[in-house]
């Protein structure tokens, strides 16, 4: 058994910068589009965008990479919406799971994406816009409705945990008992259960596509006028023998005189705590982004090589390519 076959998960921790945006809006209050925010016990608030929103962006980027996505509401009957349930065919059903209410078939997502939480308080900023009455068949002189959108400048911490031992592997509880073995899959029986397993090459391809999509991340609402590049400015990748999201609480930063400073201590603490379970650790750092770049490089290099973010994603894809 190769070392890689003992790997059960990949943990990813990353930081995304939004210069002026509202990635994932909540409801409207009057004519104000409210940003999703958390109220802290001291009364202050920080913005966040949901894991679901990130999944949507990742799916969209995968489509651009040439993958065919499933139609989540392929069949509508009564009050039930049934997805295709062909994860061997659709990468998004494989990576992000599904629920088939009619047959009880359900795939819990092997890719867990936590909400991305801002590291700095929300300051109450708003963008003023006008929705012209021209759109409703009137003349430009008729004017328009004013509206406001809450927006923020912030650094968001995101986290992902990928179950390596489930990508491309589908149990009979997830897909039902198949009359024929799906194309490209192999059927095995284990403990009285049936599993359909895609080839190692296809499983690698899907994992690599996930990383590629993360490296290209953008999306969310209001992109027509508030486009934000959400590709990571910092990335920590760890291939693990256990399924723990090691970077979940490990990313902290401060903002001093116009520059972000990554606090390496919680990250080093997490790396030290899970040291015995790590098989490969790779870091990606956008050059010139952090005020303490030299300190970060120096402190992290004892745990794994530090590349550019693009270089780290390439190395991580290479690492998964050995699976």
């Amino acid at each position: 058994m190769s070392n890689l076959q003992a790997s059960k998960a990949v943990a990813l921790g990353y930081l995304m910068k939004v210069s002026a945006g509202n990635i994932n809006a909540s409801h409207t209050e009057g004519n104000v589009m409210v940003a999703k925010k958390v109220t802290l016990p001291d009364g202050s608030s920080v913005p966040y965008f949901s894991g679901q929103a990130q999944r949507r962006m990742l799916r969209d980027r995968m489509e651009e990479l040439g993958f065919t996505l499933s139609e989540t509401s392929a069949l509508v009957s009564g009050q039930e919406v049934t997805p295709p349930v062909r994860p061997w065919e659709f990468i998004d059903e494989d990576l992000f799971g599904y629920l088939d209410p009619s047959g009880g078939r359900r795939r819990t997502s092997p890719v867990r994406v936590s909400a991305a939480v801002g590291l700095f308080p929300f300051q109450g900023d708003r963008d003023l816009g006008t929705r012209s009455f021209e759109r409703f068949g009137q003349t430009m002189e008729a004017g328009g409705n004013m509206f406001e959108t809450e927006l923020y400048a912030n650094l968001f911490k995101g986290n992902m945990l990928v179950e390596l031992d489930r990508i491309g592997i589908f149990s009979d509880l997830e897909v039902g008992k198949q009359k024929e073995v799906p194309e490209g899959a192999e059927k095995i029986e284990k403990n009285g259960r049936q599993f359909y397993i895609l080839s190692a090459a296809e499983r690698q391809r899907r994992l690599q596509a996930l990383l590629e999509a993360l490296g290209l991340l953008w999306g969310g609402g209001r992109t027509a006028r508030m486009l934000s590049d959400l590709s990571p400015r910092f990335l920590a990748y760890a291939r693990l023998k256990v399924k723990h999201p090691v970077f979940l609480e490990a990313l902290q930063a401060r903002f001093v005189e116009g520059s972000f400073y990554l606090n390496p201590d919680p990250l080093l603490g997490a790396l030290e705590k899970f040291k015995n379970y790590q098989e490969t650790v790779i870091f990606g750092l956008e050059s010139g982004f952090f005020g303490n770049e030299a300190e970060i490089r120096q402190q992290l290099q004892d745990y794994g090589p530090v590349y550019t973010v693009h270089g780290a994603i390439a190395k991580a894809k290479e690492d998964l390519g050995k699976l």
Partner: protein
């Protein structure tokens, strides 16, 4: 009795109150089924195995204590509404979320089961989450310890029963702003039908005490403490003494 304590941090967590629909409030602490589900995820049990009336988790006792006051958010989602076999419109609903919560989760039972659970939390079969599948938790620390009798004083925890019907005394502390306790009737388990759909069983009232609300409940039996709890006490949510309140299908 030996107790497995598991200290966890949950950047995001939510525990929907069962009857909430368009506005889904969250409980402040994980209910018993969530704690059993977490153990099942660590051990790799399917829903059928987890909620089967016999082993492997039969007799596993659960409790939880909040270690800090969490932040909160009201998250808006949209659901697709179906009319005449077509998805016609989107309908909003709100879900309350807890942010930056930290808990001490407690499990009691036979030592071999607790040891198996401890090993499973170290190397879980499925990732550990409290709430929905994306609401991951990080394990901060864990230990197996013998419980000793504690004082019947509680805060930031869940006690079985409706506080309004218990003999209790509020222990005020200066300078705090506390939320009122929440009483909710919750299941102690689920049964699965032939389609694999879950049906709650063992409906029992529970009182969820917020972090800043401390009460003394002199009549409360089976109160324990651990060194790891640094003077705080707990009581099991699903103690066998609750059995007479459970539905026949669960208790038999």
């Amino acid at each position: 009795m030996n107790v497995l304590w598991v200290k966890v941090a949950a950047p995001v967590a939510s525990f929907r109150r069962p009857l909430d629909h368009n506005y889904q409030r969250t409980l402040l602490l994980p209910p018993p089924t969530t704690l059993l589900g977490l153990a099942g995820a660590a051990l790799g049990l399917s829903e059928g195995e987890l909620w089967h009336k016999g082993p492997p988790l039969q007799g596993l006792l659960v409790a939880a204590l909040a270690l800090q006051k969490p932040g909160g958010a009201r998250d808006m989602w949209t659901v697709m509404k179906i009319k005449n076999n077509k998805i016609t419109e989107r309908s909003p609903y709100f879900r309350e979320l807890l942010f930056f919560a930290r808990y001490m989760l407690l499990y009691g039972g036979p030592t071999d089961l607790l040891e198996a659970l401890q090993a499973a939390f170290t190397d879980p079969v499925y990732p550990l989450s409290l709430g929905r599948e994306d609401e991951l938790i990080i394990l901060e620390d864990m230990g197996l310890e013998r419980a000793v009798a504690g004082e019947a004083r509680f805060f930031g925890t869940v006690i079985p029963g409706d506080l309004r019907q218990l003999d209790f005394r509020w222990l005020p502390r200066p300078g705090i702003i506390f939320e009122p306790p929440v009483v909710e009737v919750l299941p102690l388990g689920f049964e699965l039908d032939q389609r694999g759909m879950r049906h709650p069983v063992g409906a029992t009232p529970f009182t969820f005490l917020p972090f800043d609300l401390e009460v003394e409940v002199p009549g409360q039996k089976e109160v324990f403490t651990l060194e790891a709890l640094e003077g705080r006490s707990f009581t099991w949510m699903n103690s066998p003494s609750l059995a007479n309140r459970m539905s026949p299908s669960w208790s038999t």
